[in-house]
């Protein structure tokens, strides 16, 4: 397999995330197969790939929700697997994650969902919390739904509330699992704008999973494509756009790669 630029573009900045020979096997299938990469502080990595390739599994390893069968994940130099409970809590306070399906607490209102991490980890006053919550909601263009329950929202709205909850505490590292899948173009643009803003104003490190190439080109410093447990390509957006790997071309042009069409 001809991989281009498998060396990460770290440009001298401090290494925020480091993944070493990450291996994950489900039912004898190598979902992640000795995957290696690193992400510098303030960098934005976008991971693309077909459904079921293991993108969500990768993200869950990065934040410690799954533990590798072999290999290591280091966040700011700390191995999630060997960290003490308090160390790993400290790391996770610096991280935010938005889930593919939102993962909102359905026993709470939208307000309580977004306020949850703020109440939990800061001593801010009620008024400050309310301000921050409505600010986060307006960033995802959902003003005035504080009192609704997750069950009353559409899938796309739930995803955006989940996004708002992930950024509520202004974390240093953000993980977004398909933040725009199923959203209309206007709301997709809004999500892109928020991620842009977070990076420019706060220097946040972002790892985003998406199928949405428009969003990818808007927010990425690097784009990687996950295929058969490895990064088929991991390069800057320009090189990615020019790549002639059949799977990359298929993704960019929205058609089946050569050889697969005969299968029909």
């Amino acid at each position: 397999m001809g991989a281009e630029n498998t060396m990460p573009v770290t440009s001298g900045a401090a290494e925020e995330i480091r993944v070493e020979s990450l291996l994950k096997i489900f039912d004898a299938r190598h979902v992640l197969d000795e995957l290696c990469f690193s992400v510098a502080a303030g960098e934005s990595l976008v991971v693309v790939g077909a459904s079921g390739e293991g993108k969500t599994v990768l993200l869950k390893h990065l934040i410690g929700l799954m533990s590798p069968d072999a290999g290591r994940v280091l966040i700011q130099g700390i191995d999630l697997k060997t960290a003490s409970p308090s160390e790993s809590i400290e790391i996770r306070k610096k991280c935010g994650m938005s889930f593919q399906e939102g993962a909102l607490f359905d026993s709470m209102t939208v307000f309580e969902n977004i306020a949850f991490p703020i109440r939990r980890h800061t001593r801010r006053k009620t008024r400050e919390i309310a301000e921050r919550v409505s600010q986060c909601l307006s960033l995802v263009r959902l003003e005035g739904i504080e009192d609704r329950r997750p069950a009353e929202l559409s899938g796309g709205m739930r995803r955006r509330v989940g996004f708002a909850r992930a950024i509520a505490l202004e974390p240093e590292i953000l993980f977004f699992d398909e933040p725009t899948t199923g959203l209309d173009p206007v709301n997709t643009a809004a999500i892109g704008r928020v991620i842009d803003h977070l990076r420019r104003e706060l220097g946040v490190t972002v790892i985003t999973i998406t199928h949405d190439m428009m969003l990818a080109f808007r927010i990425a410093d690097r784009i990687a494509m996950l295929r058969q447990g490895k990064f088929l390509i991991d390069t800057d957006p320009e090189n990615f756009r020019r790549s002639d790997l059949p799977w990359v071309r298929a993704f960019l042009e929205g058609k089946l790669p050569e050889g697969e069409e005969d299968a029909l």
């Binding site: 809590i89 991280c95 935010g96 994650m97 399906e101 359905d106």
Partner: protein, 258 residues
């Protein structure tokens, strides 16, 4: 069938049983670990105590009232045969405080509270809400399991105490109302043979049952897999396993406590 195959089936069954018991203890040990670490979410503790304790009072009230009544009914008719009606009060009081009130409270709570815990945590597991808690630097065991186990350990003895009282009153109602027993003798006999140890040992048992039913309810929910169907399976299993563990441990606890 070939004997190796039988061994295999027995082996698999044993392994599964041990795995399940292992999970139950792992979760309880983790809960004990997180109980002593801040932040202490006292509001959530109270919320769970209301759900486990206060909300269970009607069920426990009816269960123990009728148990006390039927106990009096049965013993009165039996004891009449050898003119020992006077002892009905003692029998009712001793059976309730030592055995029936704690066990019935445990079983009713396993059905009411343990199943709800399994359903709630199971749904949170399959919709990734437990994962979301984790990513927000909130240990799920601390936030979800500790308040539920703690509330059950504290509330079950209180419910049992209520059940003791209600059951004894139920016994008296039947003895005095149906059999025209002398109220004074009934209460005299009730307290004559009742020792404080009868009541406390029942309450200690109830605390254990609280730990068991909350532990199984939470473990079943926490380790749920397989979507909505999995949540259903966990909920049923929480009631069945919880009740079973309560009845099995009851024997050994009684053996140790008396």
């Amino acid at each position: 069938m070939n004997p190796i195959r039988w061994l295999e089936i027995i082996g698999t069954f044993a392994l599964e049983a041990f795995e399940e018991l292992g999970r139950f203890f792992v979760l309880l040990f983790q809960a004990a670990y997180w109980l002593f670490r801040p932040p202490w979410d006292v509001r959530e503790w109270f919320r769970q105590m209301v759900r486990v304790g206060w909300d269970s009072i009607p069920v426990i009230f009816l269960t123990c009232l009728f148990t006390g009544m039927v106990l009096a009914l049965q013993t009165y008719q039996g004891f009449q045969r050898f003119h020992a009606e006077g002892f009905v009060g003692s029998v009712v009081a001793l059976s309730l405080t030592r055995e029936l009130a704690p066990v019935l409270t445990g079983l009713m709570a396993a059905g009411r509270v343990g199943s709800a815990m399994a359903a709630e945590l199971g749904t949170m597991r399959v919709t990734e809400q437990i994962d979301a808690l984790y990513t927000m630097a909130t240990p799920p065991v601390q936030y979800l399991v500790v308040p539920r186990v703690l509330a059950s350990i504290l509330m079950l003895p209180l419910l049992t105490l209520i059940g003791d009282g209600i059951g004894i009153v139920g016994g008296w109602m039947v003895a005095a109302g149906l059999f025209h027993a002398n109220t004074f003798t009934y209460w005299e006999k009730t307290f004559q043979y009742l020792e404080i140890n009868d009541i406390t040992s029942g309450l200690i048992k109830a605390a254990f049952f609280g730990m068991i039913l909350a532990g199984t309810g939470c473990a079943k929910g926490y380790f749920t897999t397989g979507g909505a169907e999995g949540v259903g399976r966990s909920t049923t299993a929480a009631v069945v396993t919880g009740s079973l563990y309560i009845l099995l441990s009851d024997f050994f606890l009684t053996k140790v406590l008396f």
